[in-house]
């Protein structure tokens, strides 16, 4: 694999949400509670690749997606696009970033304005970003509908007239209308039935090749992530515990959490049953992130070092990075 300059570089992203203190808490002089959603996430996304982001709910994967789409302002850390830091000061550059990085959401029923027809939705996007002269807008809408395989008469319908899968296609068309370079897909197909999921995933893969898109595929369905991604990042409590080549990560996960996560995914083969849970305990609350390695309480290999020292994400080989003190030992064992 030749080295390419990353299109998106993220370094040390932190995002904490303070919870509102109730009057009762204030009287009891309780400390302000803070949801630690992201605790220093760094990653690079290469042009044209799909980076899968997996983790359990509450691990911060959706928060990360929203930070990249600039729906949240990060507390600490930098986002660089094509080597240029995206800073809040430069309004013009921000606008351009907002066009180049588009996001698609999970819930097909709330991501479209119920009062706008598909034509209105697409025309608005085209007009606001001056993508086409006014007289070409309808032609472009027809093109976009073709692109996402919706019939032409879909243009003048309202969202409620479509099925979930069709709505996600509309959302894809809306994102594509401003000709972005990066798509952030936050659980794009999770709400869809399996047979419809496959249609949308195929469409996404096809569009990526055709339009040379870079995709961040955030999902909890490991099989899907494996299928669409070149590389995969596993997130646990707001930090990346492992990132690397998709096939390698799925075939031989190195972090104990990645291992447990993969083992828990139910296989379609009834002969590959396991008889005991792959991992005990539950994800700790992001209000109360454990010291040291966040995973140590559930980890079968945890040592005293894990309780005090936070492991850093480090390269184990050319294909992947792991954040575990005992990665080498586990590999040779």
């Amino acid at each position: 694999m030749t080295y390419e300059a990353p299109v998106l570089e993220v370094e040390g992203l932190h995002l904490h949400f303070p919870l509102k203190r109730t009057l009762f808490d204030a009287i009891q002089r309780k400390e302000k509670r803070i949801v630690k959603a992201l605790n220093g996430v760094s990653l690079e996304v290469k042009r044209g690749e799909t980076l899968g982001i997996v983790g359990e709910s509450g691990c911060g994967k959706s928060t990360l997606a929203r930070c990249l789409a600039r729906l949240y302002e990060v507390d600490k850390g930098t986002i660089r696009y094509d080597g240029q830091e995206v800073a809040a000061k430069d309004a013009g550059a921000l606008r351009e970033y907002n066009r180049k990085v588009q996001m698609m959401f999970q819930d097909p029923y709330s991501s479209l304005n119920p009062r706008m027809t598909v034509r209105q939705v697409l025309a608005e996007a085209l007009r606001v970003h001056n993508m086409r002269p006014l007289e070409q807008i309808n032609d472009r809408i027809a093109e976009l509908l073709d692109l996402v395989r919706l019939p032409q008469d879909a243009a003048d319908k309202l969202p409620h007239e479509f099925s979930g899968g069709q709505r996600q296609r509309i959302a894809i068309a809306r994102a594509l209308s401003v000709e972005p370079e990066v798509l952030v897909a936050d659980e794009l197909v999770s709400a869809l039935d399996v047979s419809v999921q496959a249609q949308v995933v195929n469409l996404l893969l096809e569009l990526q090749d055709k339009l040379d898109l870079t995709i961040l595929f955030v999902a909890h369905d490991l099989r899907l992530v494996r299928h669409v991604s070149h590389r995969v990042a596993v997130i646990y409590l707001g930090t990346i515990v492992e990132i690397g080549d998709s096939e390698q990560l799925f075939n031989a996960p190195k972090h104990p959490y990645s291992k447990a996560l993969l083992a828990a995914a139910p296989s379609l083969d009834p002969d590959k049953r396991h008889t005991r849970p792959s991992i005990s305990g539950e994800l700790p609350s992001p209000l109360n992130v454990p010291k040291g390695c966040a995973f140590h309480a559930r980890c079968p290999h945890a040592s005293t070092q894990c309780q005090s020292e936070t492991p850093r994400l480090r390269a184990l080989d050319e294909l992947g990075n792991v954040a575990c003190h005992h990665a080498e030992a586990l590999l040779s064992a």
Partner: protein, 291 residues
């Protein structure tokens, strides 16, 4: 052929009405619509309907009970109550509109902005709401009118000053609910301006309760206008206004009950019209596919 097709093939083809139109063909809405449209007609062309000059004294017909000549009777100065009630439509429909419209516009704009931007403005707004709703509405309005002086215009100012807070509170809550939908986030990701997101995306989806509230509020405004008229703080006699009419009749309630009852009925009927229309509009304006 699907079952649906067979169903349609066997039943005679009727011209299908748009579902929204169909929703309007209910007795409730039709009655309300009838009341409101006739109220507006009476307000715009009172001279065409009123049988007498509302201010003409007739000392030969003082406190006559309802009869064919004077269906609503006459008052202590011989003025025809029906004509006075009809001319009062002009004033009271104006009150319904002016006492609510500006409050609504201001409230919707302020409510949307504080909801969307949050921060210190939202906190301050919250305190303002707390203060405002602590006082009974009527007391606040009367206090402001007392400062400004009686009269219709001052009453509009007073009501607007107090009432916009209620509209803003409602709008804020609705916009907050809408903001949890992903389409609002999608707008931000598309790089749309906050003005566009608020007024083009969020607000249209928040109008349903606002319209209903506005309709109810117009009915309440008539009541309020009448109450202030009754107290001598709103429309001034001899101008015919339902509250003023009721006030005029209060001394004669035992001898000439119709003087107060007839304008009272007018208030009730008009209020009913607004409520009925408001209810039906709420159903019609709701985006389809939402329950």
């Amino acid at each position: 052929m699907t079952q649906l097709d067979t169903l349609q093939a066997t039943t005679p083809q009727k011209k299908k009405l748009h579902p929204r139109v169909k929703a309007l063909l209910r007795p409730g809405f039709l009655l309300g619509f009838f009341i409101l449209s006739s109220s507006i007609l009476l307000a715009v062309f009172p001279w065409a309907f009123a049988p007498y000059d509302p201010n003409a004294f007739d000392f030969n017909a003082i406190q006559k009970s309802p009869s064919w000549a004077h269906p609503f009777g006459t008052d202590n100065l011989g003025r025809d109550t029906l004509s006075r009630v009809i001319w009062a439509y002009q004033v009271d429909m104006q009150i319904a509109f002016f006492a609510t419209f500006f409050a609504m516009v201001i409230g919707v704009v302020v409510g949307s902005l504080v909801a969307y931007h949050g921060g210190i403005a939202d906190v301050l707004f919250g305190r303002l709401v707390d203060v405002t709703i602590t006082f009974p509405f009527l007391v606040l309005v009367i206090a402001v009118v007392a400062v400004l002086g009686p009269g219709l215009t001052n009453m509009y100012v007073a009501v607007t000053l107090v009432q916009w807070v209620y509209y803003a509170r409602l709008t804020r809550a609705e916009i907050m609910t809408q903001m949890t939908s992903d389409y609002a986030s999608a707008g931000r990701v598309m790089g749309y301006s906050s003005t566009r997101i608020i007024f083009r995306h969020l607000l249209p989806n928040a109008t349903t309760p606002l319209i209903t509230y506005w309709m109810t509020d117009m009915a309440l405004a008539i009541l309020l206008g009448s109450s202030l008229g009754y107290l001598g703080l709103g429309a001034q006699p001899p101008q015919a206004e339902w509250g003023v009419l009721i006030a005029e009749g209060r001394n004669f309630i035992t001898t000439a009950w119709w003087m107060s009852l007839m304008p009272g009925i007018a208030i009730v009927v008009t209020g009913l019209g607004f409520s009925l229309v408001g209810d039906s509009l709420a159903d019609v304006l709701r985006p389809r596919g939402a329950s």
